[in-house]
Protein backbone atom coordinates (compact mmCIF):
# COMPACT_ATOMS: atom_id res chain seq x y z
CA UNK A 1 0.00 0.00 0.00
CA UNK A 2 2.64 2.36 1.19
CA UNK A 3 4.96 1.83 -1.80
CA UNK A 4 2.05 2.44 -4.14
CA UNK A 5 1.26 5.72 -2.50
CA UNK A 6 4.90 6.78 -2.60
CA UNK A 7 5.13 5.91 -6.27
CA UNK A 8 2.07 8.04 -6.99
CA UNK A 9 3.55 10.94 -5.05
CA UNK A 10 6.90 10.62 -6.85
CA UNK A 11 5.21 10.51 -10.22
CA UNK A 12 2.98 13.42 -9.28
CA UNK A 13 5.88 15.59 -8.19
CA UNK A 14 7.90 14.80 -11.31
CA UNK A 15 5.08 15.46 -13.74
CA UNK A 16 4.21 18.66 -11.90
CA UNK A 17 7.78 19.90 -12.38
CA UNK A 18 7.84 18.87 -16.01
CA UNK A 19 4.41 20.31 -16.68
CA UNK A 20 5.27 23.67 -15.16
CA UNK A 21 8.33 24.15 -17.38
CA UNK A 22 6.41 23.06 -20.48
CA UNK A 23 3.52 25.44 -19.75
CA UNK A 24 5.93 28.33 -19.17
CA UNK A 25 7.73 27.52 -22.40
CA UNK A 26 4.57 27.33 -24.49
CA UNK A 27 3.13 30.58 -23.19
CA UNK A 28 6.49 32.32 -23.56
CA UNK A 29 6.72 31.08 -27.17
CA UNK A 30 3.26 32.42 -27.87
CA UNK A 31 4.09 35.89 -26.62
CA UNK A 32 7.27 36.04 -28.64
CA UNK A 33 6.01 34.81 -31.99
CA UNK A 34 2.36 35.65 -32.24
CA UNK A 35 0.97 38.92 -33.51
CA UNK A 36 -2.72 38.98 -34.29
CA UNK A 37 -2.66 42.45 -35.74
CA UNK A 38 -1.80 41.48 -39.29
CA UNK A 39 -2.96 38.88 -41.76
CA UNK A 40 -0.94 37.41 -44.58
CA UNK A 41 -2.15 36.73 -48.08
CA UNK A 42 -0.89 33.35 -49.13
CA UNK A 43 -1.76 32.49 -52.74
CA UNK A 44 -1.40 28.80 -53.65
CA UNK A 45 1.60 27.59 -55.63
CA UNK A 46 3.47 30.86 -55.41
CA UNK A 47 6.76 29.04 -55.19
CA UNK A 48 8.11 25.78 -56.60
CA UNK A 49 11.37 24.17 -55.73
CA UNK A 50 13.59 23.62 -58.77
CA UNK A 51 16.54 21.85 -57.25
CA UNK A 52 18.93 21.53 -54.35
CA UNK A 53 22.66 21.73 -54.70
CA UNK A 54 24.70 20.12 -51.95
CA UNK A 55 27.58 22.40 -51.04
CA UNK A 56 29.12 20.20 -48.37
CA UNK A 57 29.43 23.01 -45.84
CA UNK A 58 27.07 25.34 -44.03
CA UNK A 59 29.43 28.29 -43.94
CA UNK A 60 28.83 29.65 -47.43
CA UNK A 61 27.36 33.07 -48.06
CA UNK A 62 26.29 34.71 -51.30
CA UNK A 63 29.09 36.87 -52.66
CA UNK A 64 27.46 37.90 -55.89
CA UNK A 65 26.17 37.15 -59.29
CA UNK A 66 27.12 37.71 -62.90
CA UNK A 67 25.25 36.70 -66.05
CA UNK A 68 25.61 32.97 -65.67
CA UNK A 69 27.26 32.37 -62.36
CA UNK A 70 26.52 32.60 -58.69
CA UNK A 71 29.56 33.16 -56.47
CA UNK A 72 29.65 31.98 -52.89
CA UNK A 73 32.17 33.02 -50.28
CA UNK A 74 32.90 30.98 -47.21
CA UNK A 75 33.03 32.33 -43.68
CA UNK A 76 35.44 29.72 -42.39
CA UNK A 77 37.64 29.53 -45.50
CA UNK A 78 37.90 33.24 -46.25
CA UNK A 79 40.00 33.00 -49.42
CA UNK A 80 37.89 30.32 -51.05
CA UNK A 81 35.20 31.07 -53.62
CA UNK A 82 32.71 28.63 -55.06
CA UNK A 83 31.57 29.45 -58.57
CA UNK A 84 28.29 27.87 -59.65
CA UNK A 85 27.28 27.88 -63.28
CA UNK A 86 23.54 28.35 -62.99
CA UNK A 87 22.74 26.69 -66.33
CA UNK A 88 24.79 23.52 -66.05
CA UNK A 89 25.13 23.54 -62.25
CA UNK A 90 28.84 22.93 -62.61
CA UNK A 91 30.78 24.15 -59.65
CA UNK A 92 34.38 25.25 -59.58
CA UNK A 93 36.49 25.90 -56.54
CA UNK A 94 38.58 29.03 -56.68
CA UNK A 95 41.43 29.91 -54.41
CA UNK A 96 42.33 33.56 -53.99
CA UNK A 97 45.96 34.44 -53.48
CA UNK A 98 46.39 37.36 -51.17
CA UNK A 99 49.89 38.70 -50.60
CA UNK A 100 48.98 40.84 -47.63
CA UNK A 101 49.13 37.83 -45.36
CA UNK A 102 50.82 39.87 -42.66
CA UNK A 103 47.54 41.68 -42.11
CA UNK A 104 45.33 40.60 -39.26
CA UNK A 105 42.31 39.47 -41.22
CA UNK A 106 39.39 38.78 -38.93
CA UNK A 107 36.24 39.26 -40.93
CA UNK A 108 36.92 38.73 -44.61
CA UNK A 109 34.01 39.20 -46.98
CA UNK A 110 33.91 38.84 -50.72
CA UNK A 111 31.54 40.67 -52.99
CA UNK A 112 31.28 40.27 -56.74
CA UNK A 113 30.32 43.09 -59.08
CA UNK A 114 31.09 42.53 -62.73
CA UNK A 115 33.85 42.69 -63.91
CA UNK A 116 35.46 42.79 -60.48
CA UNK A 117 35.53 40.93 -57.25
CA UNK A 118 36.18 42.81 -54.03
CA UNK A 119 37.66 41.27 -50.94
CA UNK A 120 37.46 43.37 -47.83
CA UNK A 121 37.85 43.25 -44.10
CA UNK A 122 36.43 46.23 -42.24
CA UNK A 123 38.33 45.37 -39.08
CA UNK A 124 41.73 45.99 -40.72
CA UNK A 125 40.27 47.98 -42.59
CA UNK A 126 41.29 47.08 -46.10
CA UNK A 127 39.70 46.59 -49.52
CA UNK A 128 41.30 44.47 -52.25
CA UNK A 129 40.12 44.24 -55.83
CA UNK A 130 40.73 41.94 -58.76
CA UNK A 131 39.16 40.80 -62.00
CA UNK A 132 36.64 37.99 -62.18
CA UNK A 133 38.09 34.99 -63.97
CA UNK A 134 41.64 36.08 -63.28
CA UNK A 135 41.16 35.85 -59.50
CA UNK A 136 44.37 37.61 -58.55
CA UNK A 137 44.42 40.75 -56.44
CA UNK A 138 45.36 43.79 -58.51
CA UNK A 139 44.70 46.81 -56.32
CA UNK A 140 44.28 47.43 -52.65
CA UNK A 141 43.51 50.37 -50.43
CA UNK A 142 43.28 50.97 -46.74
CA UNK A 143 39.72 52.05 -46.06
CA UNK A 144 39.25 55.47 -44.42
CA UNK A 145 36.82 53.93 -41.89
CA UNK A 146 36.33 50.70 -40.02
CA UNK A 147 33.18 48.94 -41.15
CA UNK A 148 31.30 45.71 -40.60
CA UNK A 149 29.36 45.38 -43.84
CA UNK A 150 30.07 46.71 -47.29
CA UNK A 151 28.75 46.47 -50.83
CA UNK A 152 30.67 47.72 -53.87
CA UNK A 153 28.38 49.94 -55.94
CA UNK A 154 30.72 50.75 -58.80
CA UNK A 155 34.21 50.13 -60.03
CA UNK A 156 35.60 52.51 -57.46
CA UNK A 157 32.94 53.06 -54.85
CA UNK A 158 31.77 51.08 -51.85
CA UNK A 159 28.85 51.57 -49.52
CA UNK A 160 29.53 50.47 -45.98
CA UNK A 161 28.06 50.34 -42.50
CA UNK A 162 30.23 51.96 -39.89
CA UNK A 163 30.15 53.58 -36.46
CA UNK A 164 29.74 57.33 -36.43
CA UNK A 165 31.55 58.67 -33.37
CA UNK A 166 29.75 62.05 -33.54
CA UNK A 167 26.29 60.61 -33.16
CA UNK A 168 27.47 57.41 -31.42
CA UNK A 169 25.32 55.48 -33.85
CA UNK A 170 25.74 52.85 -36.51
CA UNK A 171 25.58 54.70 -39.80
CA UNK A 172 25.69 54.03 -43.51
CA UNK A 173 28.41 55.69 -45.53
CA UNK A 174 30.45 55.38 -48.67
CA UNK A 175 34.06 55.73 -49.73
CA UNK A 176 36.08 55.76 -52.93
CA UNK A 177 38.46 53.05 -53.94
CA UNK A 178 40.84 55.18 -55.97
CA UNK A 179 41.30 58.28 -53.81
CA UNK A 180 42.37 58.87 -50.25
CA UNK A 181 39.29 60.97 -49.56
CA UNK A 182 37.51 60.62 -46.25
CA UNK A 183 34.42 58.50 -46.08
CA UNK A 184 31.13 60.20 -46.65
CA UNK A 185 28.74 59.37 -43.81
CA UNK A 186 24.97 59.61 -44.04
CA UNK A 187 23.78 59.53 -40.43
CA UNK A 188 20.17 60.33 -41.33
CA UNK A 189 19.42 57.03 -43.02
CA UNK A 190 19.38 54.72 -40.03
CA UNK A 191 17.14 56.07 -37.30
CA UNK A 192 18.22 55.61 -33.72
CA UNK A 193 15.56 54.40 -31.28
CA UNK A 194 17.27 53.02 -28.22
CA UNK A 195 21.04 52.71 -28.20
CA UNK A 196 21.91 53.38 -31.83
CA UNK A 197 23.80 50.11 -32.09
CA UNK A 198 21.58 47.10 -31.55
CA UNK A 199 18.31 48.80 -32.43
CA UNK A 200 19.41 49.93 -35.90
CA UNK A 201 20.89 46.55 -36.80
CA UNK A 202 19.62 45.00 -39.98
CA UNK A 203 20.38 43.19 -43.19
CA UNK A 204 22.08 45.15 -45.99
CA UNK A 205 21.75 43.83 -49.50
CA UNK A 206 21.44 45.00 -53.07
CA UNK A 207 19.91 44.18 -56.42
CA UNK A 208 22.01 41.66 -58.40
CA UNK A 209 23.59 44.55 -60.35
CA UNK A 210 24.20 46.60 -57.15
CA UNK A 211 22.30 49.59 -58.58
CA UNK A 212 19.98 49.92 -55.62
CA UNK A 213 20.32 48.86 -52.01
CA UNK A 214 18.01 47.50 -49.37
CA UNK A 215 18.43 47.90 -45.64
CA UNK A 216 15.88 45.95 -43.61
CA UNK A 217 15.90 46.48 -39.85
CA UNK A 218 15.94 43.28 -37.85
CA UNK A 219 13.90 44.58 -34.93
CA UNK A 220 11.28 46.90 -36.40
CA UNK A 221 8.78 46.78 -39.21
CA UNK A 222 10.63 48.91 -41.69
CA UNK A 223 12.93 48.64 -44.67
CA UNK A 224 14.72 51.31 -46.65
CA UNK A 225 15.43 51.30 -50.37
CA UNK A 226 18.40 53.42 -51.45
CA UNK A 227 20.12 54.21 -54.70
CA UNK A 228 23.82 53.55 -55.02
CA UNK A 229 24.63 57.11 -53.89
CA UNK A 230 22.74 56.51 -50.65
CA UNK A 231 19.78 58.69 -51.54
CA UNK A 232 16.68 57.35 -49.86
CA UNK A 233 14.19 56.22 -52.46
CA UNK A 234 11.65 54.73 -50.11
CA UNK A 235 11.03 53.99 -46.47
CA UNK A 236 8.38 51.34 -46.22
CA UNK A 237 6.60 49.57 -43.38
CA UNK A 238 6.34 45.81 -43.43
CA UNK A 239 3.25 43.84 -42.43
CA UNK A 240 4.20 43.69 -38.79
CA UNK A 241 3.09 46.27 -36.25
CA UNK A 242 6.27 46.52 -34.19
CA UNK A 243 7.45 50.05 -34.91
CA UNK A 244 9.95 50.29 -32.07
CA UNK A 245 12.68 47.72 -31.61
CA UNK A 246 11.71 45.33 -28.82
CA UNK A 247 15.12 44.99 -27.32
CA UNK A 248 16.55 45.58 -23.92
CA UNK A 249 20.18 46.45 -23.61
CA UNK A 250 22.10 46.24 -20.39
CA UNK A 251 25.67 47.09 -19.61
CA UNK A 252 27.96 44.82 -17.68
CA UNK A 253 31.31 45.55 -16.02
CA UNK A 254 30.53 49.19 -15.32
CA UNK A 255 29.49 50.06 -18.84
CA UNK A 256 32.39 48.35 -20.60
CA UNK A 257 30.26 45.81 -22.36
CA UNK A 258 26.74 46.14 -23.68
CA UNK A 259 24.65 43.04 -24.00
CA UNK A 260 21.13 42.27 -24.99
CA UNK A 261 19.07 41.47 -21.92
CA UNK A 262 16.62 39.25 -23.72
CA UNK A 263 16.47 37.66 -27.12
CA UNK A 264 15.12 40.41 -29.32
CA UNK A 265 11.91 40.04 -31.24
CA UNK A 266 13.18 39.63 -34.79
CA UNK A 267 10.78 41.14 -37.29
CA UNK A 268 12.80 40.79 -40.48
CA UNK A 269 15.46 38.15 -41.04
CA UNK A 270 17.33 38.08 -44.34
CA UNK A 271 16.15 40.02 -47.34
CA UNK A 272 16.70 40.53 -51.03
CA UNK A 273 15.96 43.24 -53.58
CA UNK A 274 15.16 42.69 -57.24
CA UNK A 275 13.53 45.24 -59.50
CA UNK A 276 10.70 46.92 -57.64
CA UNK A 277 10.31 44.03 -55.24
CA UNK A 278 11.68 43.56 -51.75
CA UNK A 279 11.71 40.00 -50.41
CA UNK A 280 11.93 39.53 -46.67
CA UNK A 281 12.11 36.37 -44.60
CA UNK A 282 10.10 36.70 -41.42
CA UNK A 283 9.32 34.26 -38.63
CA UNK A 284 6.51 36.28 -37.14
CA UNK A 285 3.09 34.72 -37.22
CA UNK A 286 0.05 36.69 -38.24
CA UNK A 287 -3.60 36.05 -37.66
CA UNK A 288 -4.92 32.58 -38.49
CA UNK A 289 -1.44 31.18 -38.99
CA UNK A 290 -0.66 27.87 -37.38
CA UNK A 291 2.11 27.86 -34.80
CA UNK A 292 3.50 24.60 -36.20
CA UNK A 293 4.34 26.23 -39.49
CA UNK A 294 7.49 27.75 -38.06
CA UNK A 295 8.94 24.28 -37.57
CA UNK A 296 8.31 23.33 -41.17
CA UNK A 297 8.82 26.51 -43.11
CA UNK A 298 10.19 30.00 -43.27
CA UNK A 299 7.82 32.75 -44.30
CA UNK A 300 8.69 34.91 -47.28
CA UNK A 301 6.93 38.27 -47.52
CA UNK A 302 6.99 40.13 -50.82
CA UNK A 303 6.65 43.91 -51.08
CA UNK A 304 6.62 46.31 -54.01
CA UNK A 305 8.47 49.47 -53.07
CA UNK A 306 7.52 51.37 -56.22
CA UNK A 307 3.84 50.97 -55.38
CA UNK A 308 4.48 50.98 -51.64
CA UNK A 309 2.42 47.84 -51.18
CA UNK A 310 2.53 44.42 -49.59
CA UNK A 311 2.07 41.89 -52.37
CA UNK A 312 1.84 38.40 -50.93
CA UNK A 313 3.54 35.81 -48.78
CA UNK A 314 4.53 32.23 -49.23
CA UNK A 315 5.92 29.44 -47.10
CA UNK A 316 9.32 28.06 -47.98
CA UNK A 317 9.40 24.54 -46.59
CA UNK A 318 12.49 23.22 -44.92
CA UNK A 319 13.51 20.38 -42.72
CA UNK A 320 13.23 20.91 -39.03
CA UNK A 321 15.80 23.05 -37.21
CA UNK A 322 17.37 24.34 -40.38
CA UNK A 323 17.23 28.00 -40.98
CA UNK A 324 17.33 29.99 -44.16
CA UNK A 325 20.56 31.94 -43.70
CA UNK A 326 20.38 34.10 -46.76
CA UNK A 327 18.23 34.64 -49.81
CA UNK A 328 18.90 36.23 -53.17
CA UNK A 329 16.31 36.77 -55.87
CA UNK A 330 17.49 37.03 -59.46
CA UNK A 331 14.76 37.42 -62.08
CA UNK A 332 12.08 34.96 -61.02
CA UNK A 333 14.39 32.60 -59.20
CA UNK A 334 14.96 32.62 -55.49
CA UNK A 335 18.25 31.23 -54.19
CA UNK A 336 18.34 30.27 -50.55
CA UNK A 337 21.22 29.03 -48.43
CA UNK A 338 19.81 26.42 -46.06
CA UNK A 339 22.05 24.10 -44.05
CA UNK A 340 24.60 22.59 -46.42
CA UNK A 341 22.53 23.34 -49.49
CA UNK A 342 21.78 25.98 -52.03
CA UNK A 343 18.08 25.62 -52.79
CA UNK A 344 16.63 27.19 -55.89
CA UNK A 345 12.95 28.09 -56.16
CA UNK A 346 10.86 29.52 -58.94
CA UNK A 347 8.50 32.32 -58.05
CA UNK A 348 5.21 32.24 -59.91
CA UNK A 349 4.27 35.89 -59.54
Amino acid sequence: MRTGKTAVKLLGTSSLGMGLVIVLFLSSERQVHRNNAFTRRIPPHAITKKFDLDLGYNSYYIAGYDNNNMYLGNGTAPFHVLQIDLKSLDTSHIRLYVNNRGLQFRNVQISVLQPYFFLFDGTVPIVLRGHLGDWSIQDSIMSPVFFDKAIPVGKTELVCRTFDTDSQTITLGSFQFDTNALANLEPKILERQIDGVFDVDGAMTSTPDHSSLLYSYYYRNEFIVLDSHLNIIKRQKTLDTVTTAQIEVTSLNEGQISEMLAPPVIINNSSSLEGSRAYIISNRLGKYENMDILNQASILDVYDWKKGTYEFSTYIHKTEREKIREIKVVDNLLYALVGNRLSVYELAY
Binding site: R2, T3, K5, T6, K9, L10, T13, S14, L16, G17, M18, L20, V21, I22, L24, F25, S27, S28, Q31, V32, E248, T250, L252, E259, M260, L261, A262, P263, R321, K323
Partner: protein, 148 residues
Protein backbone atom coordinates in the same frame (compact mmCIF):
# COMPACT_ATOMS: atom_id res chain seq x y z
CA UNK B 1 16.59 -4.10 11.47
CA UNK B 2 18.46 -1.79 13.79
CA UNK B 3 21.64 -1.92 11.75
CA UNK B 4 19.81 -1.42 8.47
CA UNK B 5 17.93 1.53 9.82
CA UNK B 6 21.08 3.16 11.05
CA UNK B 7 22.57 2.64 7.64
CA UNK B 8 19.54 4.09 5.93
CA UNK B 9 19.68 7.07 8.18
CA UNK B 10 23.21 7.68 7.08
CA UNK B 11 22.26 7.41 3.41
CA UNK B 12 19.44 9.91 3.86
CA UNK B 13 21.75 12.33 5.61
CA UNK B 14 24.41 11.99 2.95
CA UNK B 15 21.89 12.66 0.21
CA UNK B 16 20.57 15.69 2.09
CA UNK B 17 24.06 17.01 2.48
CA UNK B 18 24.80 16.55 -1.22
CA UNK B 19 21.69 18.55 -2.09
CA UNK B 20 22.48 21.25 0.46
CA UNK B 21 25.97 21.71 -0.99
CA UNK B 22 24.64 21.68 -4.56
CA UNK B 23 21.87 24.19 -3.89
CA UNK B 24 23.92 26.59 -1.84
CA UNK B 25 26.73 26.51 -4.35
CA UNK B 26 24.43 26.95 -7.34
CA UNK B 27 22.36 29.72 -5.78
CA UNK B 28 25.37 31.64 -4.51
CA UNK B 29 27.21 31.53 -7.79
CA UNK B 30 24.07 32.82 -9.51
CA UNK B 31 23.67 35.73 -7.13
CA UNK B 32 27.39 36.43 -7.26
CA UNK B 33 27.03 37.59 -10.83
CA UNK B 34 23.33 38.28 -10.87
CA UNK B 35 23.45 40.69 -13.83
CA UNK B 36 25.11 38.08 -15.98
CA UNK B 37 22.70 35.38 -14.79
CA UNK B 38 19.69 37.50 -15.71
CA UNK B 39 21.10 38.16 -19.16
CA UNK B 40 21.75 34.48 -19.77
CA UNK B 41 18.32 33.49 -18.57
CA UNK B 42 16.68 36.21 -20.64
CA UNK B 43 18.55 35.04 -23.70
CA UNK B 44 17.37 31.53 -23.09
CA UNK B 45 14.86 30.75 -25.79
CA UNK B 46 12.59 28.78 -23.51
CA UNK B 47 11.60 31.22 -20.79
CA UNK B 48 12.09 34.56 -22.52
CA UNK B 49 8.92 36.20 -21.28
CA UNK B 50 9.37 35.17 -17.66
CA UNK B 51 13.09 35.69 -17.23
CA UNK B 52 12.81 38.41 -14.58
CA UNK B 53 10.65 36.46 -12.16
CA UNK B 54 12.47 33.20 -12.71
CA UNK B 55 15.83 34.85 -12.14
CA UNK B 56 14.85 35.71 -8.55
CA UNK B 57 12.88 32.58 -7.88
CA UNK B 58 15.47 29.97 -8.78
CA UNK B 59 18.17 30.97 -6.26
CA UNK B 60 15.47 31.75 -3.68
CA UNK B 61 13.97 28.29 -3.95
CA UNK B 62 17.42 26.74 -3.89
CA UNK B 63 18.28 28.45 -0.60
CA UNK B 64 14.91 27.55 0.88
CA UNK B 65 15.28 23.88 -0.01
CA UNK B 66 18.82 23.80 1.35
CA UNK B 67 17.51 25.16 4.65
CA UNK B 68 14.59 22.74 4.82
CA UNK B 69 16.87 19.79 4.09
CA UNK B 70 18.82 20.50 7.24
CA UNK B 71 15.94 19.71 9.58
CA UNK B 72 14.54 16.23 10.11
CA UNK B 73 11.04 17.57 10.40
CA UNK B 74 10.98 19.16 6.95
CA UNK B 75 13.32 16.81 5.17
CA UNK B 76 10.73 14.71 3.37
CA UNK B 77 8.93 17.76 2.00
CA UNK B 78 12.27 19.23 0.96
CA UNK B 79 13.14 16.01 -0.89
CA UNK B 80 9.92 16.29 -2.85
CA UNK B 81 10.75 19.90 -3.59
CA UNK B 82 14.27 18.98 -4.69
CA UNK B 83 12.92 16.25 -6.92
CA UNK B 84 10.51 18.70 -8.55
CA UNK B 85 13.28 21.27 -9.01
CA UNK B 86 15.74 18.79 -10.52
CA UNK B 87 13.04 17.47 -12.86
CA UNK B 88 12.33 21.06 -13.90
CA UNK B 89 16.00 21.73 -14.62
CA UNK B 90 16.25 18.55 -16.64
CA UNK B 91 13.10 19.33 -18.60
CA UNK B 92 14.45 22.79 -19.24
CA UNK B 93 17.72 21.42 -20.62
CA UNK B 94 15.97 18.89 -22.82
CA UNK B 95 13.72 21.63 -24.19
CA UNK B 96 16.58 23.98 -24.84
CA UNK B 97 18.36 21.23 -26.74
CA UNK B 98 15.24 20.24 -28.60
CA UNK B 99 13.53 23.47 -29.49
CA UNK B 100 16.05 26.23 -29.79
CA UNK B 101 18.47 27.27 -32.46
CA UNK B 102 21.08 28.63 -30.15
CA UNK B 103 22.03 27.23 -26.81
CA UNK B 104 22.93 29.46 -23.90
CA UNK B 105 23.78 28.19 -20.44
CA UNK B 106 22.77 29.90 -17.24
CA UNK B 107 23.99 27.49 -14.63
CA UNK B 108 26.48 28.96 -12.23
CA UNK B 109 30.12 28.30 -11.50
CA UNK B 110 31.82 25.10 -12.58
CA UNK B 111 28.52 23.67 -13.71
CA UNK B 112 28.85 26.00 -16.66
CA UNK B 113 31.75 23.93 -17.92
CA UNK B 114 29.67 20.78 -18.19
CA UNK B 115 28.61 19.70 -21.65
CA UNK B 116 24.90 19.28 -22.23
CA UNK B 117 24.97 15.49 -22.05
CA UNK B 118 27.06 15.56 -18.89
CA UNK B 119 24.60 18.07 -17.55
CA UNK B 120 21.66 15.77 -18.11
CA UNK B 121 23.52 12.86 -16.53
CA UNK B 122 24.45 15.08 -13.59
CA UNK B 123 20.83 16.13 -13.15
CA UNK B 124 19.49 12.62 -13.50
CA UNK B 125 21.91 11.50 -10.80
CA UNK B 126 20.38 14.03 -8.44
CA UNK B 127 16.88 13.07 -9.52
CA UNK B 128 17.76 9.48 -8.59
CA UNK B 129 19.21 10.65 -5.27
CA UNK B 130 16.02 12.51 -4.43
CA UNK B 131 13.92 9.47 -5.30
CA UNK B 132 16.08 7.21 -3.12
CA UNK B 133 15.82 9.67 -0.26
CA UNK B 134 12.06 9.89 -0.58
CA UNK B 135 11.62 6.12 -0.78
CA UNK B 136 13.76 5.58 2.31
CA UNK B 137 11.95 8.22 4.30
CA UNK B 138 8.54 7.02 3.18
CA UNK B 139 9.32 3.34 3.85
CA UNK B 140 10.97 3.89 7.21
CA UNK B 141 9.12 6.77 8.78
CA UNK B 142 11.05 6.03 11.95
CA UNK B 143 14.01 7.74 10.37
CA UNK B 144 12.16 10.86 11.28
CA UNK B 145 12.72 11.09 15.03
CA UNK B 146 9.55 13.02 15.68
CA UNK B 147 7.40 10.11 14.53
CA UNK B 148 7.09 7.54 17.31
Amino acid sequence: MKWGQKHNHRIVETISLLFVVLFIYAATSKLWDFGQFKVQLGQSPVLTAYADGVAWMVPGVEYLLALLLLFNRSRLAAFYGSLALMVMFTTYIVMVLQFSDYIPCSCGGVLEDLGWTEHIVFNLFFVAMAIIGIILLETYPTLKPNVS
